[in-house]
Assembly symmetry: C2
Amino acid sequence: MTETVESVLNDVIKHIRPDIDEREAVKALTELIIERVNSKAASMGINARAISVGSTARDTWLSGEADIDIFIMFPAEMSEHELKDKGLLLAKSVSDRYEERYASHPYIHAHFRYGGMEYGVDLVPCFAVKDATSLKSAVDRTPFHNEYVRKRLPGLEDEVRLLKQFLRCLGIYGSEQRRKGFSGYLCELLILKYRSFLELLNHAANWRYGERIDIEGHGQYRGDDPLIVIDPVDASRNVAAAVSPYSFCRLIDAAREFLASPAREFFLPKEAKTLSESEFRRILKDRGTYFIIIRFKAPDVVEDILYPQLRKAETSVRRLMERNDFVVYRSDVTVNGDNALLVFELLVWQLPGIKKHIGPPVTLRKHAEKFKSRHSPPFLIEDCRYVVEVKRRYTDVMSLLKTELRSCNLGKHLSKVVEESGYEVLTPEELQITPGISSFFRNYFGKS
Amino acid sequence: MTETVESVLNDVIKHIRPDIDEREAVKALTELIIERVNSKAASMGINARAISVGSTARDTWLSGEADIDIFIMFPAEMSEHELKDKGLLLAKSVSDRYEERYASHPYIHAHFRYGGMEYGVDLVPCFAVKDATSLKSAVDRTPFHNEYVRKRLPGLEDEVRLLKQFLRCLGIYGSEQRRKGFSGYLCELLILKYRSFLELLNHAANWRYGERIDIEGHGQYRGDDPLIVIDPVDASRNVAAAVSPYSFCRLIDAAREFLASPAREFFLPKEAKTLSESEFRRILKDRGTYFIIIRFKAPDVVEDILYPQLRKAETSVRRLMERNDFVVYRSDVTVNGDNALLVFELLVWQLPGIKKHIGPPVTLRKHAEKFKSRHSPPFLIEDCRYVVEVKRRYTDVMSLLKTELRSCNLGKHLSKVVEESGYEVLTPEELQITPGISSFFRNYFGKS
């Protein structure tokens, strides 16, 4: 029996809305950190001021998932060098446990224990610019987002939470390169636009490629992204630029499915599920395809750099196989512990020892003479071109990959890793089925 | 050591030019037949007149290959029905041994023994129209061709013979559908244009696709044929319309080869050469490909109808295989005795049991719902479309062909034959290597 949408959503909200204790702890910890930064700044004579931003500032975080974001705002006239020095100095002063991180910009990720819970806190120095279109660094826009949402969102926070949890269970929450999904700010804007989770789904179910949402009606962005959500604080920016065609379609599809039969299952994370080794082997046997896994040490770079490089390598290796007439059915990439894996599923992995080498048009005399002097007869003529039949260099895909992989464009970081520590070309039989690998393949096979 | 071009050509001419006895016999027989037709016409009160046309009329036939063409010209005012009745009546009256044939038009092919030799004679009724652009039937143009060439060719006959023999040895002499090569009339025009065989080769070696020759400078023909030779007696017609891209390129290539190293071998027919069965088997093994031969009874139609149908069937069967993801490397057709054969050489003839079925774009809601109601999950999303993985119906090409061949568009005649007497799908092991088959494969493999 299908439950009513309302009862499902009310039930889900109870689970994902932080309780009073969690909210008070987050609020108190946030204020404590801000106070520490500000008084440290005052004591050092630094003209800076900390503010709370992000989901904890807007009350849109999911229960148990609080990530506190503190921005430390410096005068716009300050040099970048000084901002970095003084900003990191202040940020490091609030906790003994921290690491320095880099996105477009250096920042500090600190760890706090508070009220018996562990919290991660990002402390990000930025410039207090006069408006969001006069940025000195990419993070300077964030305080404007914060202001915009804080003023308009109150009353709709739980709707944002529903959306975030829904997307999270679909695997498309977060704008990082690994997911190319919907960022937290984008979720808030979508709820500001449609006023409720359900109304968003009603619209999303009918979205077309290139769907355009412009709350302030000031958009100047032109691009062929699947979803365009004009930033209310910067008319030239698409907040949904990171949303991949896949993520876009996935939301559309799930919206229709949920509306057709609402259920709590849409809000339950699937990550824990894995395939047993015997299930995995059985599926491979049923498919009858040939899997090849290229494994190498994952280079020591952040995920947002790693994943685009893996995708690039995937395309490059796929093209190498296709150039050699092997037929790739599907492919994907994953990271498992210290290793990066490129996974290819083939329909054709062995070929006869002969191939056509296509020469120049017969009518181009100079090219024709050169070609004929370089090859042996017989010269066939097909589609007005010379063709010779030559020995195929690689009659099986394994020997191709073992010999030619280094000739692929693997990108800077992967090339270095492959040069330094090599790579392995494995069949699934040679692969240990860890929970990570199992979960990857579960997803690959589309098992729910 | 390379011989001089002149010595090669002089030597060849001696062999292909009819001797005095052959010439006199042909001349006498031709006059005899004309006389018989004309006096029969007179005695029956029919207003008709026979003329000699074609290579024997123009002295351009190859020694031992004389085909006598006699056209019986009727007044243009006569009805087609009357022309046919009276024309065939006259034609049949000159010999006891004849058969009725059809090209675009019915005619009589008669047999004569003369001076100890057998001759085939075509007797073709036509209308004596006032010019070549006011035809009542397709053959009415021929007398104009005859007049045009007879007036201009004298002195160049041996050059035409060299060209015909050269093309014949390349397998591209004759405009019939099986060859799609150069007709006799086209050979004569090319020699009229370039004045010698050698000069033609010098030009052909540099021909470009769409080469245009217009002796009278009056051409109105527009088309993307590889070679365009405007008919001197009909500005709207391309005499080379039947020349395929292959035949065009083959001449260009051979012209360059001959000019680079002239030799008698270019004028020696290759038809007699065959492959031994063991040679044939060894070549197949070396290639490592998979040959499939589809064999059926050749329908009882003239070659010019049969070959286009075989080519059409070849394309249709090839597409059937490609639609099912098998990879065809090369293909060809041949006729062997009573049988027609479609020959396919494959790179991929077995496939895994899974395939993608591509559905509608996710954004098209109605189509999406229909697709999802018809298929089972999981629904993958690729390039903004739904994709389901389904069982592949044919995992080997043999079972595909044995089951689905009848669904191909085989053309009227082949469909009828296949329906009435069926077809066989053979591997080379099941094929008897007759001289005809052997010669076909020798050519297919490009063995010289």
